[in-house]
Amino acid sequence: MTEKINSNTPMEELTPGGDIYEAGNARNFKTGDWRSIKPVYLSDKCKQCGLCFPVCPDDAIPVGKDQKRTDFNYDYCKGCGVCAKVCPFGAIVME
């Protein structure tokens, strides 16, 4: 029911109090558009040291099964810059 609700849904089809009847729904709220500056990933400088992704408050640095990070998930990255600050190799620059 709730996954069909959007900003065109008439009030008669909304849930009381705005209740959301699915778990894990924060995924649907793309907070990346709050960003004013963004981190850029320079893969040739990255040593895969693993310091950046644990500090990301929004889980916006995807890590594969091989323990290697890939490019940012800009759907959720708010551009806080913590990752760029911890990177010892200059592999993340804020633009």
């Binding site: 009381p16 109090g17 705005g18 009847y21 699915e22």
Partner: protein, 393 residues
Amino acid sequence: MSIRERLSGNEAAAIAMKQINPDVVAAFPITPSTEIPQYFSSFVSNGEVNTEFVAVESEHSAMAATIGAEAAGGRAMTATSANGLSLMWEMIYIASSLRLPIVMSLVNRAVSGPLNIHNDHSDAMGVRDSGWIMLFSENNQEAYDNLIMAHRIAENKKVKLPLMVCQDGFITSHSIENIELLEDDIVKKFVGEYNPDEYLLNKNNPIAIGPLDLQSYLFEHKAMQAEAMKNAKQVILDVAKDFEKITGRKYSFFEEYKLEDAEVAIVCMNSTAGTTKFVVDNLREKGIKAGLLKLRVFRPFPAEEIAKALGHLKAVAILDKADSLNAVGGALFQDVTSAMFVNKKEVPMVDYVYGIGGRDTKADDIESVYNDLAEIVKTGNIDNPYRYLGLRR
């Protein structure tokens, strides 16, 4: 079948809560409602109820805990007065907007300051637009009866709104009167089990409540609350009808006391109605056609029904036990006058702010209002519609 007792209004409320046996009660003591959680906590200690009693550190927490309990899927109750309600204020709106049918006893007291612990309705009037159903009680019996009916109204799927039962601090909360109680099993059957469709502790169907609700949604969610408040009107009448079947006691939006053939009438709420009935009886013996409309259901406001009940009168006085400090008159006066205007009933109307901070309102005071009404009928003059009753000047 029913039990004859003599109880104070606070005892009556506590016993209603015992018979309802809610899942959670969270409360913080404040005069004059303190006794309600005090008596109730003794029921908990004695094992007379299965309730989880949460002795919180403030009224804000009391309302927050009842919100949590109700959202979890339980039935939660609380009690407070005056500044306790003020401290709950933020949470009062959360409770109604999350559509949680919490039931509260509000023992009416003046909101400070300067500090006053006695009765008026300024606490209740402060939350009149918060989306709670508000029932008022003339005496101990009505405070008890309104609580027994409360959950059936609040939890109805067309309503899903919190509800407060008001009674006058000290005047009824601390006065012992005769009362007729229902037997425990009859209350249990009448109130029934609470089985919400969606609740937080349902592990098979997890939900989120109270989400971020921005420009695209809050307007509609508020309109849904307003719709629920309209729906509550019929539900209140239906529940009253069922209640009458088991008790013989009749309830509606308001009580019309000798109103049908009256020429002048008073509109008031809570215990003042008792004094007014005494005065109406005396005036009737003198041949004066006096009447009373005692409002029980203040929210939802039965505007159309009030206009119909008052439309034939020659003059009406509204008694407001809280001043709105707005230079035009009290909240009840404004609601009643707008109800009359919208429903095209033209009756001369005056407002009396009275009983502030527990100022005693005697039969003579009420009689002076009827005398003023008679004067208005005779002369057709209302120099000032915003008046005081019992004010020193």
